[in-house]
């Protein structure tokens, strides 16, 4: 039976892991290669790098990061952040990334997703969606797509947008609840379930994980195909292995290593 995936996410700025990874026994917690290697050893099913480099001068550093990680860590690697052109995608894939996550560029130019999936195949194009609830208390729930870290509304309905992106060839949806991101109170399960039921491709739930039960809830109630988390793993609150054992004990099919 296909396992639900657990995906640690690393924010990378200028080639360094930020938001402080805190493994006590790692020599350099800012080194993406060391951190990726550790997650691989713990049994991560994939690793996602989010390039948050602000300066365009430093953009190439993520290419070197991907090259170094791909030469040593043999699980799927996804890279998001700043993917705007087919040339960006080509360079990432050549560096050793397996998938790229497209976010803002899909909103400003949806045809880009169509072009990218035609050229590189759906299997390597992930569309990242940042959604926020816009319906009020007691109303039928509605979510819209936001950009700029959840500050800028686009007016796009999240469910309709996810469906459009899948029509355009997206092979996977990386769904982040901007209401929950950083809160540690769990995924937005209603949002996750709404998107997962609306599309035929896998959905990765993101935003809000604070404990291991949240991961189970994301799969069982949110119907997510994969769960992504950052801080609970970075601060070694839980190892990936602990997370998987907990999920297995609670009836979730996972890859135990």
């Amino acid at each position: 039976m296909l396992a639900r995936r657990i995906i640690p996410c690393l924010d990378v700025d200028g080639g360094r892991v930020v938001k402080g990874v805190r493994f006590v026994d790692i020599r350099d917690a800012g080194d993406p290669v060391e951190v990726a290697r550790r997650y691989n050893e713990e049994g991560a099913d994939e690793i996602t790098f989010l390039d948050i480099t602000a300066s365009s001068d430093d953009r190439d550093t993520i290419i070197h990061v991907v090259e170094q990680v791909a030469a040593q860590v043999f699980i799927p690697l996804t890279v998001g952040g700043g993917i705007r052109t087919c040339e960006d995608i080509r360079r990432m894939l050549n560096a050793g990334a397996d998938k790229v996550a497209i976010n803002t560029a899909a909103i400003s130019n949806p045809e880009f997703v169509l072009e990218a999936t035609r050229r590189f195949g759906s299997q390597c194009i992930v569309v990242a969606i940042d959604a926020k609830q816009v319906s009020g208390e007691g109303e039928f729930p509605r979510w819209e797509i936001f950009t700029h870290g959840g500050r800028k509304p686009t007016g796009l309905d999240a469910v309709a947008w996810a469906q459009q992106m899948v029509e355009y060839g997206a092979g996977e949806i990386l769904l982040t609840s901007m209401d929950r991101d950083g809160t540690k109170i769990g995924f937005d399960l209603a949002l996750t379930r709404a998107i997962s039921q609306a599309v035929s491709v896998p959905v990765i739930a993101s935003g809000g994980v604070g404990n291991l039960q949240h991961l189970v809830d994301g799969v069982q109630e949110g119907e997510a195909d994969a769960v992504l988390a950052a801080s609970i793993f970075h601060f070694a609150e839980y190892s990936i292995g602990e997370a998987k054992r907990y999920m297995a004990e609670h009836g979730v099919e996972v890859r135990l290593t």
Binding site: M1, L2, I75, P76, N94, Q123, C124, D225
Partner: protein, 213 residues
């Protein structure tokens, strides 16, 4: 004796992952080449044939690089490892792209997973993306050191349905039980990606490098 291992490059897929993983397990004593040159493929000791993307594009790219014959000869004569589309294009035809003729070396067809398959009451998502178990139907040198039902990484919407079930070396359950590995005398081909399957995948690649069919 050093062996030359060739990874066939026809512009389809993540060759860097494949060549890096093979270099990782091959160590210093073997040479790993990534090439689109039929001559270099002919001279290789063993051949890896990866592939990603749509069936029609793969076939077009093989023709464009004049590789059909070199691939077929290698698949008949040398230790040969097909990966993902590198398995599928060996078959006769695919349902993909409204019907696509393939290399036709192995009798059988490539089919799409049926829509609306259920697992535990929930609709299965296509592509199958993630880690699934491979049931080793029979013993094989490439399974050495890999436990029964080990998980490997899959990304695909189509699967092979070989005409001769004796060539099946592995099966996987995803709504239906499908053929995830075939093996003939000198050929081993997997629907999953060993180069992305962590320790188990590296073990399989290492087994391939040491395989003497």
């Amino acid at each position: 004796m050093p062996k030359s291992i060739v990874v066939i490059d026809y512009g389809m897929g993540n060759l860097r992952s494949v060549s890096k993983a093979i270099e990782h397990v091959a160590g210093q004593q073997h040479r790993v080449h990534v090439t689109d040159q039929p001559r270099i493929i002919r001279e290789a000791d063993r051949v890896v044939f990866p592939g990603q993307g749509a069936a029609r594009d793969c076939m077009a790219a093989l023709s464009e690089h004049h590789l059909n014959e070199a691939v077929l000869v290698a698949a008949r004569e040398k230790p040969f490892l097909g990966i993902c589309m590198g398995l599928q294009v060996l078959m006769e035809s695919s349902e993909e792209n409204g019907g696509t003729e393939l290399l036709g070396m192995i009798p059988g067809r490539v089919k799409r997973f049926p829509p609306n398959m259920l697992q535990g009451g929930r609709r299965l998502k296509i592509p199958q993306m993630g880690w699934n178990q491979v049931y080793q139907v029979r013993e094989h040198p490439l399974w050495a050191g890999i436990p029964q039902d080990t998980r490997f990484y899959f990304v695909h919407s189509y699967y092979v349905d070989p005409g001769d079930t004796r060539i099946i070396a592995g099966t996987t359950g995803f709504g239906i039980d499908f053929t995830s590995v075939i093996a003939t005398e000198n050929l081993f081909a997997t629907q999953f990606h060993p180069e992305k399957s962590a320790g188990a995948g590296l073990q399989l690649l290492s087994n391939f490098i040491n395989w003497s069919p």
